[in-house]
Amino acid sequence: MFEYALKGNKRYWAWLLILTGIIAAGFYSYLHQLNYGLGITGMSRNVSWGIYIAQFTFIVGIAASAVMVVLPYYLHNYKAFSKTTILGEFLAIPSVIMCMLFVFADLGQPSRVVNIFLYPTLHSIMFWDVVSLSGYLILNVIITRVTLSAEHNSIAPPKWIRPIIILSIPWAISIHTVTAFLFSGLAGRPFWLTAILAPRFLASAFSAGPSLLVIFCLILKRLTSFDAGENAIKKLGVIITYAMCANIFFILMEIFTAFYSGIPDHVSHFQYLYTGIDGNVKLVPWMWVSAIFSIISLILLLTPKLRNNNKIFFFTCLIIFLSIWIDKGLGLVITGFIPTAFGKVIEYSPTFTELSISAGIWAFGLFLITIFYKIALSIKNSTSSVMIKEVTTVNV
Amino acid sequence: MYDSGKIITGLIIFVGLFTAPVWYNLIEGKAAMNKPSLSLPNNENQNECVAGTETMIADHMIILNTWRNDVVRNGKRNYYNQNHKIFEMSLTKTCFNCHTNKSHFCDQCHNYAGVNPYCFGCHNVPQNLENK
């Protein structure tokens, strides 16, 4: 089926070429980092996790969000999502690969990464994170391969794929919960030590992921003959609305507990984010942009006329994606370290090498998404005229 | 066959790349083409090595890895060899005590075999200390 990715128009190849350039630049920067050490990034003794882990945390959410289209379609027979499930699953695979690449780029001794498997440590959440991400990748590869090749051959998928698809639903929830546990179990970091971190992660994932899916669907509608269907887009709009309401509600809950209790250890991190401390204000403009974007998006989402207008909805999804990218990426991981365990404020800003490597990994993810979507769309277009028996007609 | 031009060109390039290590070394006349000549310690103190020559050649990494786990993870620091002689399990303090010149001893075989053990990045070699 990969041969479908080799046929494309000039725009397709130009896009892939640009991405390849960014990937090559990122790889070159990574060689620099391997040579010099992680000191080439902006990370320091005090802020020991930076944008690599921040991107990892954000993208795990995107990977998990495929469940938002898989669940209605396979558990509740919601036919409108018939065309989007493959797009969701094909978004999950490059996302998980991007996550793994970001963690790999962040390791001080990457050649020893196999140690995680040679010396499994059952009490370490990072071990379970690796296990659940690897499992999710394998699940999605199997699911997409089997369902797509069945569609390619115009037959129904084999019955055994259904329990595997059902398994991917709780598994998707688990990958992002485990990632939240990485942070929320640490007694020494009061900013992360909150039970609501996992629900926050899931709510923001289910807003940002489907938003990205909608962006892709609308772009594909413009550039190709693929149409996900108005019902699918509208339903995704409803899902994103509920998820965004939950997300903003959870953030406000956090802010209330911190400021009302007034405990300095807890308040100081939020102060750093929204007002800055002692003139250290690097993240303040970012956080306010994120806040304003979420409020605007909430208004646009809660107004049915604006939500159902695809042009405006595209813009809404874009600002949701950016808002959550800032909040989860910059505002969560880095702020856990600021102020430090000694109460000092030591700021962090990424260096050029760091940004180049991150851009390279994002470009690699987009590259894979482009190729996978090309394959999926080519197969769907060539078989769209054929009636195939749905695998979902069995009762739940 | 179809596309014979492309296939044969591709095959030639592939074989060329595959055998690159061989003809690269031939052209460059690298040290890897010379058999290693080890300079052994002069042994005036009649000190014996941890194990016999054949064993050391074949298994020195296994011995070192066992030592590593015993010292770091199990807190044991004394090693009794076949002749019941006691040694401290330390690369720097025991092995390099006699084999003081890395480039005339260790590097000889390592360069020939094309391996680059990263042990020396942390474990101090007497030679390097002199150069500091």
Partner: protein, 267 residues
């Protein structure tokens, strides 16, 4: 390819996978079991009263009344850095420190007091890795590169560390440093008897495990001319550390987090 060959290759691949897995699992199962169990052993009131109290549990007492760090004394820090080849990068971003001085309100963040007694107000407190009894860093390390020894010391295995820095995120005391670059050029005077580290691994104070195994006290304890550092087995009721704790008021850093830090400060 006819069905027979396909089936054979599938079976062969499965068999090879099965054999490989079995080899790995059986060789690792033994070491895995003992490592998983031993990492979680920690002291509780119950265990202290039982026979296991005969076990050694190393701890340190820092007598802040005797410590003269505010006069600029850095003997403990210098001896540790020299003994363990701790590099000096000259800037705080990449710095590696095993012992250093913090102002009192930074070292004891949960002891906010505007009217602290004068001797403590400007005190610079030497801080180390607390070698906790219930170490959060050991709990989160994905490869057991940091682990608790039987005598209580939280060790680092620099051969196994993958440099993920999860332990640094988990430590509530900021005790751990990462080698952001190759440290070798930044070591003033190399001690040949202790390895340097390479870039990409985390390091910290280990209570001089290698000196203790040879019957010596930790380097800082030996170097302190004010005799402010006392080290010993806290499970032994006759040890000097226990006597000091019996007769003097002591505080620990962030004890409320349940980490069980084993460095006691006499104030």
């Amino acid at each position: 390819m006819n069905k027979g060959r396909r089936k054979f290759i599938k079976l062969a691949g499965l068999a090879a996978f099965g054999i490989a897995t079995e080899q790995i699992v059986s060789s690792k199962a033994q070491s895995k079991a003992t490592e998983i169990i031993s990492n979680r052993g920690r002291q509780t009131k119950k265990s202290l009263n039982s026979a296991s109290a005969a076990k050694v549990r190393l701890a340190m007492v820092v007598d802040l009344r005797k410590c003269v760090s505010q006069n600029g004394c850095t003997k403990c820090i210098d001896s540790c850095n020299k003994e363990h080849n701790v590099p000096d990068f000259g800037e705080t971003k990449d710095e590696v420190k095993w012992i250093w001085k913090e102002p009192y309100e930074g070292a004891f963040m949960d002891q906010e007091n505007l009217y602290m007694k004068d001797q403590l107000k400007d005190k610079m407190v030497p801080v180390f890795c607390n070698n906790c009894d219930n170490p959060p860093c050991v709990e989160v390390c994905p490869t057991q590169a940091t682990y608790k020894r039987d005598d209580g010391i939280v060790m680092m295995d620099w051969h196994r560390c993958i440099g993920c820095r999860y332990c640094m995120a988990a430590c509530p005391y900021g005790s751990r440093s990462f080698n952001w670059r190759d440290p070798r050029q930044f070591i003033k005077e190399v001690n040949p008897n202790f390895p340097t580290r390479t870039k990409g691994v985390v390091e910290k104070c280990e209570f001089c495990a290698e000196r203790i195994d040879n019957g010596l006290p930790p380097a800082c304890v030996e170097a302190c001319s004010a005799k402010a550092l006392v080290f010993g087995n806290i499970n032994d009721p006759d040890s000097e550390v226990r006597k000091l704790l019996k007769d003097n008021f002591s505080v620990r850093r962030k004890p409320g987090l349940g980490t069980g830090p084993e460095i006691y400060y006499l104030v």
